[in-house]
């Protein structure tokens, strides 16, 4: 029985650690984008390394959680969904890491007049994903509160869509001193940042269905 209790405790700790990694990854991603916009490349590359490490940790934890749940037959009725949720959350931090890597390789030239828009976009998009973490934690402790927590995810996702649209409009309709290829490149970077909130919404949809299933 001692082994059994230890397994449960370890798994709970691992899931919490996984959430911490995703949450921290999002925070570092935001700081990384800010550093890039401020042209502080040293700080940017430090943030990139940090996100990389956090994503690696999250991957290891994800596999370990999945293995333990199957080996010790934990949550047999909800296992598939929990594993899927963890995969979706891992996709978010994965996407954050990929975006920073793309920026570090392509080094897009972002006009300083767009700095504010890019920061707002990054803030809102990461906010959507960050609001998902407390909801995911609540699934395990207070499933009744999950849906009310998810409202913020949907709100920030919509806001991100609006900001992304406005920024793209500004790039293509109001800025004349950059060529079309440059504009397309900026649009591509916006898509990358926006992608985080889209993935958060996808995970929120799954979490919402999981919460209903567990409550009824």
């Amino acid at each position: 029985m001692a082994v059994f209790t230890r397994t449960t405790k370890n798994l709970i700790l691992k899931i919490d650690e996984f959430f911490d990694n995703v949450e921290l990854g999002l925070l570092v991603f935001r700081e990384g984008i800010k550093s890039y916009l401020e042209n502080d490349m040293e700080s940017f590359s430090r943030h990139l390394q940090k996100v990389d490490t956090l994503e690696g940790n999250a991957d290891m934890l994800q596999m370990s959680i999945e293995n333990e749940m199957i080996t010790h037959s934990i949550l047999p009725q909800h296992r598939e969904e929990v594993v899927k949720l963890i995969e979706e959350l891992d996709e978010i931090i994965d996407s954050a890491k990929r975006s920073l890597y793309e920026i570090s390789i392509e080094m897009p030239k972002i006009p300083s007049s767009l700095n504010k828009d890019f920061i707002s976009l990054t803030e809102t998009s990461t906010n959507a994903a960050e609001e998902l973490i407390p909801a995911a934690r609540a699934y395990f402790k207070a499933p009744y509160t999950v849906r009310e927590k998810l409202i913020k995810v949907y709100y920030f996702e919509k806001e991100t869509d609006k900001l992304s649209l406005n920024t793209k409009k500004r790039i293509f309709q109001n800025i004349y001193d950059i060529d079309l290829a440059h504009k397309a490149h900026l649009r591509y970077i916006i898509h990358h940042i926006e992608n985080i909130s889209d993935k958060a919404q996808k995970a929120a949809d799954l979490l919402s269905a999981m919460a209903i299933k567990i409550v009824i």
């Binding site: 209790t5 047999p76 909800h78 395990f140």
Partner: protein, 411 residues
């Protein structure tokens, strides 16, 4: 020869183990919360304990209904009940061994011209109906308690489920104990009046004549669990998979409580002591109690589409199974007596106790057989447990090694 007569009872025990253990561990095994191996070992040990320690209460009731006083009669009744159960199962009707054996005893009473005690019979009928109803009530109460506890405690889902898992094992063991205590009468009840073995002294404790028969019967149930209940458990689990883990626990606990209540003489005596009426000690159908519990939870959760067809089939089973089994018993007794010339019992002088009118079985060999059988079972059980322990250790070590190897290659 005596063992040959017991075969029909042992067969009935085997089929009871194969079918009814699924009512106790079906949801746990079906949802993969407990492995079949673990469930089978726990259920077998608990069934044997329940039957030997607490099986006499329900057996007394069946004895009151009809004290079969010849081995040939006991053999025929158990066989008739077993065939009825087999046929009803073939027609996919929810059948109960209890109802089959009661019908067979009434058939014997009719054949031998003995009077069927209407008070005992009505007590049995009432219990068959009140069992599932009580199961439903217990299930509703327990479900309310457990869901309130889950909400109020704010416990982590994984911790809660691990508690449920422990609960399923503990409650499953209690359920199997109650099943052994309550249903052993179905398997060995008809043999009790025909046997009068000398007490078997095992050093620390001794087993009475009835307990020796209960031991044999419960071993047959355990063999049924080990050899044939896996498929049934997996099917039961798949059929009620919509039940949440806590609902599964509630169903098993409520069902076990009902079985326990109707087989605990101690509880009945306590009721009498505090001025309440005595609890009738009657073997009841674990399957029907479980159905009652599931319906109880369904009603509480506001499920509108209650399966009335299933309820109708259960009600049909209350009548059809005893009638069919009674007819089988009556005609089989006729053939066994008139064609094979075997004594199947006779009219009991109502001034004598059942044992006084029944034949006494020479028991020296029988007691020796039981003694060696018990020793063999204990040794085999210990060896099996040790083997499973080694297997489990090997599995854990291999898993650990494979995970270490995986991460070594990844990094």
């Amino acid at each position: 020869m005596i063992l040959l007569f017991l075969t029909s009872g042992l067969f009935l025990g085997w089929s009871l183990g194969a079918n009814d253990a699924s009512n106790i561990f079906g949801s746990a095994v079906g949802t993969k919360m407990v492995s079949f191996r673990k469930a089978a070992i726990i259920a077998s040990i608990a069934v044997i304990s329940g039957a030997v320690l607490q099986g006499s209460g329900t057996t007394d009731t069946l004895e009151k209904l009809g004290a079969v006083n010849a081995l040939g009669g006991s053999f025929t009744l158990a066989l008739a009940a077993a065939i009825s159960v087999y046929l009803m199962t073939k027609f996919t009707l929810p059948v109960s061994t209890t109802q089959a054996i009661v019908g067979a005893i009434i058939g014997w009473n009719l054949f031998t011209g003995n009077r069927t005690d209407s008070a005992t019979l009505s007590k049995i009928f009432i219990t068959w109906i009140s069992g599932p109803v009580l199961g439903a009530l217990f299930a509703i109460l327990l479900y309310i308690l457990i869901t309130k506890f889950k909400k109020a405690s704010g416990m982590h889902l994984i911790r809660f489920e691990s508690l449920i898992k422990i609960g399923l094992i503990v409650v499953g063991a209690f359920g199997a104990y109650s099943l052994g205590a309550n249903n052993i009468a179905n398997v060995m009840g008809v043999f009790i009046p025909a046997f009068n073995l000398q007490d078997l002294n095992l050093g620390l404790f001794s087993l009475s004549s009835g307990q020796q028969l209960f031991l044999l019967g419960s071993l047959a149930i355990a063999v049924g669990i080990m050899t044939y209940s896996k498929k049934v458990m997996e099917t039961v689990g798949a059929n009620i998979v919509e039940l949440t883990a806590e609902a599964a626990l509630v169903v098993v606990l409520a069902g076990s409580l009902v079985l326990f209540i109707f087989s605990s003489t101690g509880l009945s005596d306590f009721f009498v002591k505090i001025g309440l009426p005595a609890i009738p000690m009657v073997p009841i159908s674990s399957s029907q109690v479980v159905v009652g519990c599931v319906i109880g939870i369904g009603l509480y959760k506001g499920v509108r589409n209650i399966n009335f067809k299933l309820l109708g089939e259960i009600a049909l089973g209350w009548v059809a199974t005893p009638v069919m089994s009674g007819l089988f018993a009556f005609f089989s007794l006729f053939f066994i007596k008139n064609i094979f010339g075997i004594d199947v019992g006779h009219k009991i002088d109502e001034n004598l106790k059942p044992f006084d009118s029944g034949p006494i079985i020479p028991d020296e060999n029988m007691s020796d057989i039981i003694k060696y059988l018990l020793l063999g079972v204990v040794v085999a059980g210990l060896l099996t447990l040790f083997y499973f322990y080694l297997l489990e250790r090997k599995k854990t070590r291999e898993l650990k090694l494979s995970e270490e190897k995986f991460w070594k290659n990844m990094l």
